[in-house]
């Protein structure tokens, strides 16, 4: 029975502990604000890790913790519910959230395409022996994307359209980027939209890139951004401003120091050093390319990603 009472005590404690799960960020040691950022542990978020290492956040009294969600799915609700103060997500996901009136707003740029066909960090790949040689050939084929009804399929459709093909007959298949090289090799899909480091894996195995969908969609496409809840922006404008400043400094630093970016990748991913040295890095400008965001909104609307709604860019962009 004593064990039973102990069990009950544990239960009560746990319930009490659960109650304080959504505490506001308290002031940390030395008056620094404790800030949690929901990120996906991929190449795109290297600047925030680098900026943390360089002290760009500490110097602005921000004590940063990165929480890695396995995808935007956990990050947007996390930011809205206050689990995270900031989050990282691709633009199309943010536009989808906006059309559903999710109270969030972009506070800093995230990552951008290099804008150069042949030298971007993501593209549509096929097997070495595939009959597909150009974007127009992708019409009617089975293509892997990491998330359906998101930035991948909408930009791939644009690539096909621009090349004179009809994107209507394409079947998109959802699978994690990391599974795509194997799926391509095994012939489960005709083509795969991959980003680094999976892009390097495909080309190393002899695969070819047939379309640079980010480049085709818009020049210097803004791919993703950091965002906060409108509540935090209203309640603690000073913290948001300090975060934005630190983030911008991190983005500029990362853009200017590719070698340090490749080094910091080793701290939060398991990409092996050889692959780190070889992969194509994205661009990290501090400015959000509004024209490209408008293009993504237009493309998404055309492809029915927003369920008939039109995203209001003034509500989501700073």
């Amino acid at each position: 029975m004593r064990r039973l009472i102990a069990g009950l005590a544990v239960l009560t404690l746990a319930a009490a502990g659960a109650g304080c799960g959504s505490d506001d960020p308290g002031a940390g040691s030395g008056g620094a604000d404790k800030v949690k950022v929901g990120v996906i542990p991929i190449v795109d978020v290297a600047p925030i890790y680098l900026g943390q290492q360089k002290g760009f956040f500490a110097s602005r009294r921000i004590e940063l913790t990165m929480e890695s969600g396995q995808g935007g799915a956990a990050i947007v609700p996390g930011v809205v519910s206050g689990q995270f103060q900031f989050g990282f997500s691709n633009i199309t996901s943010l536009l989808v959230a906006q059309t559903r009136n999710v109270p969030i707003k972009v506070v800093a740029n995230g990552v951008a395409s290099t804008g150069q066909a042949g030298k971007d960090f993501g593209g549509v790949t096929v097997r070495r022996d595939s009959p597909i040689t150009k974007a127009a050939d992708l019409a009617g084929k089975k293509i892997a994307v990491n998330t359906l009804k998101n930035i991948g399929d909408t930009t791939v459709r644009e690539s096909v359209r621009k090349a004179g093909g009809d994107p209507a007959g394409i079947t998109f298949v959802e699978m994690p980027f990391a599974n795509m090289p194997a799926a391509l090799q095994a012939g489960q899909v005709d083509a795969a939209w991959v980003v680094e480091p999976s892009l390097s894996a495909v080309t190393a195995a002899g695969g070819r890139v047939v379309a640079w969908n980010y480049v085709d969609a818009a020049p210097d496409l803004t791919v993703a951004a950091y965002f906060a809840s409108t509540k935090l922006i209203a309640d603690d404008a000073d913290l948001v401003k300090r975060f934005t400043d630190a983030m911008n400094e991190s983005l500029s630093y990362a853009d200017a120091h590719p070698d340090e970016v490749r080094a910091v990748l080793g701290s939060y991913t398991k990409i092996d050093p050889k692959a780190r040295a070889a992969l194509t890095l994205p661009k990290w400008p501090t400015a959000i390319n509004k024209v490209s965001v408008e293009t993504l909104a237009k493309l998404g609307e055309q492809d029915g990603i927003f369920a008939g709604a039109t995203p209001d860019l003034t509500k989501i962009l700073p």
Partner: protein, 250 residues
């Protein structure tokens, strides 16, 4: 023992040979996986991940067992309560714990809390159902005898109900321990809560296949260790019970 280990050796040989013969694409040979395992074991981050997973497992299991036993004894001992709650239990029990992932994320983000919610939900029913069976198994003659000797409800619980239910409780714990590990790793893998699961996901998205498989092997080893531990505890605490006493003779 040697015969048992030969199965493992055979598996290792197969896992070494198949990829080398090119029969399985994207599965590194066992030797490379073991090398990656050795590399991982040398890092602090790996042990932190193991610690996080075991913490979520142990805490979740403790809560589930505590709640399962308390609720089970209460419901089981009061027939009216049992009748009232039967449909509720039958409705809630089959809900797969992973279906609660969206709820967990909304409530706890990617914290330990999310993992705990899934672990406790899955493990609780394993314990509860076993306890209910255990309570139902009380010998009516013994119960009536205790009543006619005017034993207090507490004494009847202690001396009649509890010894009967205990073997069932341990079966429940053993089942729950395995399920709790599965759910802990799943939650970390899908939600990204800290632990082995999230490290597996990072290794996967980094294209570090040997490391990914090495970590999967670690979760398997944890499962074996947990099962062996649960069986040992069962034998030790139930050494007086015929189900355990009879075992060596078999």
């Amino acid at each position: 023992m040697i015969l048992r280990l030969s199965g493992l050796a055979g598996l290792l040989l197969l896992a070494e040979a198949l990829p080398r013969l090119g029969l399985v694409a994207d599965l590194p040979p066992a030797s490379r996986i073991l090398a990656a395992l050795a590399d991982e074991a040398g890092t602090a981050a790996f042990w932190t991940a193991v610690g996080d997973t075991l913490t979520a497992w142990a805490l979740g299991l403790a809560i589930a067992v505590g709640a399962g036993v308390a609720v089970g004894v209460l419901i089981g001992a009061v027939p009216t309560l049992r009748a009232w709650t039967a449909s509720t239990v039958e409705f809630l029990r089959p809900i797969p714990s992973v279906a609660l992932i969206p709820l967990a994320v909304l409530l706890y983000g990617t914290d330990l809390g999310s993992t705990l919610l899934l672990v406790v939900y899955a493990a609780f029913w394993q314990v509860l159902v076993q306890v209910l069976y255990g309570v139902a198994d009380v010998d009516p003659v013994a119960d009536e005898t205790a009543r006619s000797f005017r034993l207090s409800p507490w004494a009847r619980l202690r001396h009649v109900l509890w010894p009967t239910a205990l073997p069932y409780v341990f079966t429940g714990i053993r089942l729950a321990a395995a399920v709790a590990l599965v759910l802990a790793v799943t939650a970390e893998l899908v939600i990204g809560a800290p632990g082995l699961g999230s490290v597996i996901a990072v290794a996967q998205s980094s294209g570090a296949l040997p490391t990914m498989y090495a970590l999967i092997v670690v979760t398997g080893l944890l499962g074996v260790a947990i099962n062996v531990g649960a069986r040992y505890a069962e034998r030790r605490f139930l050494s007086w019970h015929q189900s355990v006493r009879a075992e060596p003779a078999r």
